[in-house]
Amino acid sequence: MGTDIAGLDTFPRLLMHHAAVRGARPAIREKDLGIWQTWTWRQFADEARFLACALAAQGVKRGDHVALVGANRPRLYATMAAAQCLGAIPVPLYQDAVAAEMAFPIQNASIAFAFAEDQEQVDKLLEILPQCPTLARICFDDPRGLRHYAGAELLAYDRLLEGGRADYRRDPAFLEAEIAKGLAQDTAAMFFTSGTTGVPKGVVLTYHNLIERSRVVADWEGITDRDVVLAFMPPAWIGQNIFSYAQPLVAGYCICCPESAETVTTDMREIGPSYYFAPPRIFESLLTQVSVRMDDASAAKRALYRYFMGVAQRVGERIMEGKPVGLGARLLYGLGDLLVYGPLRNVLGMGRIRIAYTGGEAIGPDLFVFYRSIGVNLKQLYGSTETSVFVCIQPNDRVKSDTVGPAVPGVELKFTPARELLIRSPGLFKEYYKNPQATLEAKDAEGWFHTGDAGYIDADGHLKIIDRAKDVGALTDGTLFAPKYLENKLKFFPHIREAVCFGDGRDKVCAFINIDPDAVGNWAEKRSMPYSGYTDLASRDEVYDLVRGCIEQVNADLAGEPEIANSQIHRFLILHKELDADDGELTRTRKVRRRHVGEKYQSLIEALYAGRQAVHVEAQIKYEDGRTGTYSSDLKIRDAKVFPPAAGQRAA
């Protein structure tokens, strides 16, 4: 597969190639009007051609930036391809971001043309129109509710396309010439990193970066044009865009867009993708759903499930990796596959998965082992927007739960004395847009990219990430304090959704805890413990004891690792509200904004370290229909048992 696209170094050329070679094969499917509407590669290429001519007529020229706001829809990807045909640069933005967050990228890249999916996105763009003088044209796809919008800048996608169709018919040569002008080192797309600190930065990625990395990994993993991917994460996230735009254009496989965010589980089950990528929290919520639903099953079914899951825990992973296993165990696992694992994979929509990646954050060991034991080939992947995603991938036969695997061919890894990871790879981004100072900070003279992550290479040659370099601190007695490492251990418990640890420059470690409403809610119902809502549930003593049990188990694990033994968690409180991206406490991909949370809840941290048993908190709450109210109550603070180092074993 790799040879036939050797000379094609831009996405438009690749698109026209697929339209010629595999024109009738499905390129994109979207669940709409009850069935999966299908676009073949030829239809996709034609739509891109007509749309490119239409964009040219709208004044979009080489080097311009085009904003794309919307969920995964065929027309969004067609607009991306059309822009690239003209040498313009698509800039996908998060569709669930608030209007204010969209203003900076549009001003920064002086964007004139924007593609908006529906009325919701059009309203956001209209809201920030005054601050973005350059924004001249908004093209919308779904006309529902927009009939009476009189704005001159609004334009319906269908009318735009009709115009483009006529232009292309009149003068096809113009477009072929524009496509021919495209070069490998031209900018393919720009992705704004949410960045946990300061203003978002525009990562400029060239065609070469994206295509070369996609092709190397496609060859390495044996991805063919028969594979199927379900695109359900925001297109503005590089993790989704690489798998639903860049790599499909390289390997020629089919992308499927779900009907809506609510129907992803049913759509996943219908499509049964063979190639899957999702951050750990998706796998976590799926596992919680499995255990909650299994709890409601009949006693016989539960017993059967528990018995065969035990078999899977023992031999599942070894069988999948082809390691030697006793005949009896293999037969038992086969029976288990017929009765439990096969149907489980089938109901979760993972029946046809050949390769499944998890990345973006650390994943809990038992969560990771659960999926591998039921026969899902789940592997760790490490990368970032700046490195076109692919840095490290675990090979199929050597998969471990606490590492991210060896470097992908063509990637070099190096460490600074402070254990910060440096990367050099053909996939490295060209620059931060209009931010040379940040580019210099991130990419040094020899081309090494400073990832900002701390870690080391283990005995098997796998890279192990322990934390963000800048977050790695030390307690007053000098022991290493890696907050993410502790938080990940806490988050591996189904009842804890989010945790924030503090300890840098302090004598002991304390933590904020966010409970998982579904899991703890179900736990409370089983004990027929009435609760009126999230805040009420989070303030219950029984829930505090439950969380304390989890923390003490983490403390017992930590006691077994000498160099971080006494960074065990001494005191903790359960926050009255879920940390939320809309309140700026999390990034769009749900990573904790540590500094912001530290400042916002400074009074709570003081109370923790002052040894108080409770702390008063005032907070503004926005109700569903827009009214705001204030919430004030006392948050309880509890101590957790700490274990002497090296003597600790698993707590009760």
Binding site: D32, L33, G34, H148, T263
Partner: protein, 261 residues
């Protein structure tokens, strides 16, 4: 209401009287309905509103009076003929087919447009299959329009009240009617469901240009979305005009506040 033009009189009722034995449900009622208009019929309980609607689409047969629709005159309308002329309706208390799914219920709305004979259907021949698919596509548009995709295959009996009302509207819309008779479409709905239903009614009127005859108790809704209002009381028409006229018409106020007759 908004930008569309209201056309000529398309449906008119002259001197209609209806009685069940001694009970006089309607006496000498006359009013007209224009093309693309949202025409409301209001009045206290038992004023004869539903009976008027049932006369319009042939469920009840009046003792006297005429109904004119698209230049054709009827002394009494037969419900099957009303349907084929393009009059569709929803019912006050939901009249859905409990034994079928949402999709099948709406598909029955298409029955007048389906031509294939039973032999073609039995052998699932080309024309029958193509016809079934073509009408399925039209029904999917209605499902998309009413945003009930997620319950497409659920049996209708299991749906909550608000959704059942929407499915019934969907069935009426599937017949692509010229005139849509709505019998208290928002009865028993909470605020949010009412807003949705108003949006749907206005979209139907605006998008498809369907003339709407609406019976509704919620004065707020009536005053907001209707072009003209006719008021019935004890089976007699006591007022007819634009919402503002009706709002401060003394006779209407008396009727509602129950001044002795």
């Amino acid at each position: 209401m908004s930008g569309r033009t209201i056309g000529e009189v398309t449906l008119s009722v002259e001197g209609v009287s209806l009685a069940f034995g001694g009970v006089k449900a309607l006496s000498d009622v006359s009013f007209d309905v224009r093309e693309h208009e949202v025409r409301a019929i209001i009045g206290p309980n038992g004023a004869g509103k539903s009976s008027m609607l049932n006369v319009l689409n042939g469920v009840y047969h009046p003792q006297s009076g005429k109904i004119k629709f698209k230049e054709k005159e009827f002394t009494d309308m037969d419900s099957h003929e009303a349907a084929s002329l393009g009059i569709a309706r929803t019912f006050q208390n939901i009249a859905l087919f409990k034994g079928m799914s949402v999709l099948d219920n709406i598909m029955t709305g298409r029955n007048l447009k389906m031509r294939c004979g039973i032999l073609q259907q039995a052998l699932w021949l080309g024309p029958a299959r193509r016809e079934e698919i073509e009408h399925r596509r039209a029904v999917e548009q209605v499902i998309d329009f009413l945003e009930i995709q997620h319950v497409r295959k659920t049996p209708v009996g299991r749906l909550p009240y608000g959704l059942q009302k929407r499915v019934e509207l969907g069935r009426a819309l599937a017949a692509e009617p010229k005139v849509l008779l709505l019998d208290e479409p928002m009865a028993g709905m909470n605020l949010e469901e009412k807003q949705d239903m108003c949006r749907f009614v206005l979209d139907v009127n605006d998008h498809f240009g369907t003339t709407i005859v609406l019976i509704e108790h919620d004065m707020g809704v009536v005053m907001d979305i209707s072009d003209r209002v006719v008021v019935l009381d004890y089976g007699r028409k006591i007022a007819d005009g634009v919402p503002d006229e009706i709002r401060n018409n003394q006779k209407v106020i008396d009727a509602y506040l129950g001044v002795a007759h």
